[in-house]
Subunit: 231 residues, 2 copies
């Protein structure tokens, strides 16, 4: 389990919440609580109405939808500073996705009521939220395009590209995705099976396009990956 961070530090990291005035942020922070989650632990269940939303402090959280047949699919991976479950907060319906810790995680619980007090009158927060929704919609539409017309490798490539863009570190070798994801996790993001994901990644590994360890994946051939993930 990583070390427990401070509530204020985490809220400051959020590109959304740090738009708040210092005193408003302070007041909000004093109503929040830092909470741990074990690897694999469910933070909340899909559709469940909670009285808070989350901000990731350290670790990673995935937003999961479980379908009838029991398969899970992950719509998003949230990392440090990212807010999750907020859309459900402001539109009044609960979050339709389950939040589950990918790694040992510390996250801040922000009480909805306290947030809504400052949110309701803030044009800036609303503007940021709309922009984020727009981006997410965009990403979702791209995924739909790839699912309709693309191949499994196309989607796995896109997932790696997105993760690299959001959480990648530039290294001498290439872009490193420092998230301890299993093949299963990647499969859930790409909307396919573990086996297919393994086949694709093994192939790329042999071709020298990526290098994968247990704790990270490095995209060594960025150009090839861009080609693979093109819509």
């Amino acid at each position: 389990m990583p070390e427990r961070p401070g509530v204020r530090d985490v809220l400051h990291q959020s590109a959304l919440l740090n738009k708040l005035e210092a005193h408003a942020l302070e007041e909000l922070a004093s109503a929040c609580r830092m909470e741990p989650a074990e690897k694999g632990e469910t933070i909340w269940l899909s559709g469940k109405h909670t009285d808070y939303f989350g901000v990731v402090g350290v670790g990673f959280v995935k937003m999961v939808k479980t379908v009838e047949t029991g398969q899970d699919l992950t719509h998003e991976i949230m990392g440090p500073g990212q807010v999750f479950g907020l859309m459900g907060t402001v539109d009044g319906c609960g979050c339709p996705l389950e939040a589950r810790a990918v790694t040992g995680t510390w996250y801040v619980r922000v009480p909805k009521a306290d947030f809504l007090k400052v949110y309701g009158s803030s044009h800036e927060l609303k503007d940021v939220l709309i922009r984020r929704a727009s981006v997410r919609l965009h990403v979702a539409h791209d995924m739909i395009s790839r699912l309709s017309t693309g191949s499994v490798s196309n989607r796995v490539g896109a997932v790696l590209q997105i993760l690299a863009g959001d959480y990648g570190h530039e290294t001498a070798e290439g872009v490193e995705i420092r998230i301890p994801l299993r093949r299963q996790d990647i499969a859930e993001l790409a909307g396919t099976t573990v086996e297919s994901t393994i086949r694709v990644l093994s192939k790329w590994q042999k071709e020298g396009k990526i290098r994968s360890g247990t704790q990270s994946i490095v995209i060594t051939d960025l150009e090839a990956m861009a080609r693979e993930s093109r819509i």
Copy 2:
């Protein structure tokens, strides 16, 4: 070609724009222009920056993404009173989708600049927009789930359910979708091929679950359709 409606009537129909004060709406209306589009005509191209967004007056418009291979996929069908291309307006990026008329259509061109003047200071408009974005995101995620784990018939069923919910008319026979959609259009919505769509719809027709004419489709067995489209 249907008869040309009035700009003010159309703007009033919009659940978004009629949130505006009467005088603000009137001012906006005076800056707008009613525009026709033939069946199949492109209103704007994907990614193209226009200085306006649209509100459907009569007819239907589809929001299309064309992929590398030349296949089109439709993310949404917009009907009377619906606003399209607005997300691209408020987030500054252009609309990533092509707008194309499904039928003979009249739509209002609302100049972005005039809209943004009233939008920037309106909490109500922003709230509505966020809610809409939230719903659309939800729908997109459901589609992703179905594309990942469901079958073609599952998706075609979902498309019919959604269209029925948005534009359905209750009749003695069942719910009628009064949009002159070709099998091709439905295929693009469901992310599959015409042939597969035809097979599914023919089968359902034989089983008495739907009845399809050239100008409309009637869902006669609502329960069966709900079963087919379940995630």
